[in-house]
């Protein structure tokens, strides 16, 4: 910490460096936007999937589960639930069967009383999610 380094130069590096890496980040974002159609399974996004995503959101599923590894760590990963639970029927059956008052002493998913259409939408959303190219994550079916 001698006078060999000056505030003016430190300031230049802050502004210049930040701008530099921001531009680089934007360039990478631009490339990502171009590459996403091959990976994000967007052709599978139907009205039903969109409805499922909305239901996923307004019931705060992310408050217990992870989806592609992001969310809360209280309940299982659901990015691959479609595969783990054996397709849409497995998902729908599980959600429907949750007891209203929980399970004594154990964690339990609440009973949301979804309609059949809603259940189908959620299952469609999880099917779409399971087909996103996630670079082979999670490492195995247990999520």
């Amino acid at each position: 910490m001698s006078e060999a380094f000056t505030k003016a130069m430190a300031r230049n590096i802050f502004y210049g460096g930040s701008l530099f890496f921001l531009l680089l980040f934007l360039a990478l974002t631009f490339d990502t936007e171009g590459a996403l159609p091959d990976r994000d399974n967007r052709q599978a996004i139907t009205e039903k999937v969109a409805m499922g995503k909305r239901l996923w959101e307004v019931n705060n599923c992310i408050g217990c589960h992870t989806l592609l590894g992001e969310g809360a760590y209280f309940a299982p990963e659901l990015g691959n639930a479609y595969k783990r639970l054996g397709g849409k029927a497995g998902i729908i059956g599980f959600i429907k069967s949750r007891p209203k008052d929980g399970i004594p002493g154990r964690r339990s998913m609440p009973q949301f009383n979804f309609t059949d259409e809603e259940l189908d939408a959620i299952a469609e959303f999880l099917k779409y999610t399971s087909e996103i190219n996630t670079a082979n994550w999670p490492p195995n079916i247990q999520g």
Binding site: M1, A10, F25, V58, I103, G143
Partner: protein, 468 residues
């Protein structure tokens, strides 16, 4: 306190401490739910308690940042706040909006809250940390704009110090990046991609600027080291923060459907993210060692040094542990992430807010520079209790995480999630007990505002014998 209008900060700090207490209470509920699964079910399910826990954290940190800005900006700019009235008004708007939101979480089912607040018109709810109803989010934007206007006008018409400019850049970035919270496409990958522009670029970007400038301010005041020296360090540190942190966003783009080159870009840059935190630690200790005076507020200096160390450990070291893509492949979304999150948020952001409160509160409560000896001793006890218990919470969660990763992801016979959770319950119990110690620390912290408040102030500063 040199300017009348700085007193506005007292409101903000008081609210911050109150919400902090709420956050810890809900943290304890969550910790118990991890081991007693049906605790408070179905009245307060886990997801609701977690939402309250994390949202209170964000809100009290924001209150702390705003209070810090209202306190230090006038002093740095050498003029009164542009509009103290607006600051008070915005305080109440923010507090009421925040309280209503939290009550909404607790009293109404989340889907009902979404319906009541018209989420269908502009769906933004139900994403981690951004669970607030859209109307609350709009409120946050309004409060942030009014706040920026108030702070900006004060800074631009007064003395322009580096501390003030960096703070202003950080706060502006905070407000601008929050706008991405309104972007919620049906495409899950794009949703997640831009969600991180709020979350990552906040906590590993602009918030670090705010942290740096608050820390620099407290160090200037308590050590008496030449402003020039501290300011140039501040520039170098925040330059490194953004250089590593912006592309470092890539460490969230490994497994969410984004192109695989992010595994390289993210790993390379986020591997360097500990550097600015390390520099911050070196910087803080260096400044204190070169102090020109012994400030009577020893508690504030302790908090400042603690922030530097814990931010480095929590954000730097624990972040590095699982940031490289090959490691993250196994640890992504496990208790390792939770461990890192706890120590990083406490070490970097909770502690910096407690630092500025510790420094500023005595003066706003009529002291010349510091609290009485008894009060400071109690505050330092609370520092050690909270900090050490947070270290242990992190260690226990790390233990839980390592076991979880092995049993669920790495071993030859991967076990289901819930089976693994039961096998690692011991760590959750240890975490919960440590959480109670943290609570004791918090109680002592709050008590330190009342104990010894009639006692005389710690003797006014003496000149330090030049060390180093």
């Amino acid at each position: 306190m040199q300017y009348q209008s700085q007193a506005v900060a007292k409101l903000y700090f008081t609210a911050a401490i109150g919400l902090f207490a709420g956050q810890i209470l809900f943290g304890l509920i969550l910790g118990l739910q991890y081991v007693v699964g049906d605790f408070l079910f179905p009245a307060i399910p886990f997801n609701v308690a977690r939402m309250v826990h994390t949202n209170l954290l964000i809100v009290w940190i924001l209150f702390g940042f705003m209070g810090a800005a209202y306190y230090l900006v006038p002093e740095e700019a050498e003029r009164e706040l542009h509009s103290p009235g607006l600051a008070v008004l915005m305080f109440w708007v923010f507090l009421v909006a925040g309280a209503l939101t939290i009550l909404g979480y607790l009293l109404v089912p989340y889907s009902g809250l979404a319906q009541m607040t018209g989420n269908d018109l502009l769906p933004t709810m139900g994403r981690e940390f951004l669970e607030q109803p859209t109307i609350t989010k709009i409120g946050i934007v309004i409060v942030a704009l009014a706040f920026l206007y108030n702070i900006g006008m004060t800074i631009l018409s007064g003395r322009k110090t580096v501390v003030n400019l960096v703070l202003l850049i950080g706060l502006t970035g905070l407000a601008v990046l929050f706008l991405f919270a309104f972007y919620n496409p049906d495409n899950l990958v794009k949703d997640k991609f831009y969600w991180w522009w709020v979350v990552h670029l906040w906590v590993e970007g602009v918030w670090e600027l705010i942290l740096g400038s608050i820390l620099a301010f407290v160090l200037i005041k308590t050590t008496g080291v030449d402003r020039e020296v501290i300011e140039k360090w501040l520039y170098v540190i925040i330059a490194m923060t953004l250089i590593t942190g912006i592309i470092g966003t890539g460490h969230h783009y490994y497994w969410i459907g984004t192109p695989e080159y992010w595994q390289w870009w993210g790993s390379v840059f986020s591997a360097l993210e500990p550097i600015p935190f390390f520099m911050m630690t070196v910087f803080a200790f260096n400044m204190v060692n070169r102090r020109r005076r012994n400030h009577p507020n020893k508690a504030a200096v302790l908090w400042a040094l603690g922030t530097a160390v814990m931010a480095f450990l929590g954000a730097g070291v624990w972040g590095f542990l699982h940031t490289l893509a090959p490691v993250n492949y196994y640890t992504h979304g496990s208790q390792i992430t939770a461990a890192h999150g706890h120590m990083a948020f406490y070490g970097a952001y909770a502690m910096i807010v407690l630092t500025i409160i510790s420094y500023a509160m005595p003066m706003m409560r009529g002291r010349k520079a510091a609290n009485s000896n008894r009060s400071q001793v109690l505050e330092m006890w609370s520092f050690w209790l909270m900090t050490v218990s947070m270290v242990f919470i992190t260690l226990f969660l790390t233990g839980a995480g390592i076991l979880q990763v092995y049993l669920q992801r790495y071993s030859d016979n991967p076990l289901p999630f819930m089976v693994v959770q039961e096998k690692i319950a011991l760590f959750y119990w240890l975490r919960e007990v440590t959480g109670l110690v943290f609570l004791i620390g918090l109680v002592l912290y709050i008590a330190s505002f009342f104990v010894g408040s009639k006692d005389p102030e710690v003797a006014v500063e003496q000149a330090a014998s030049p060390t180093a």
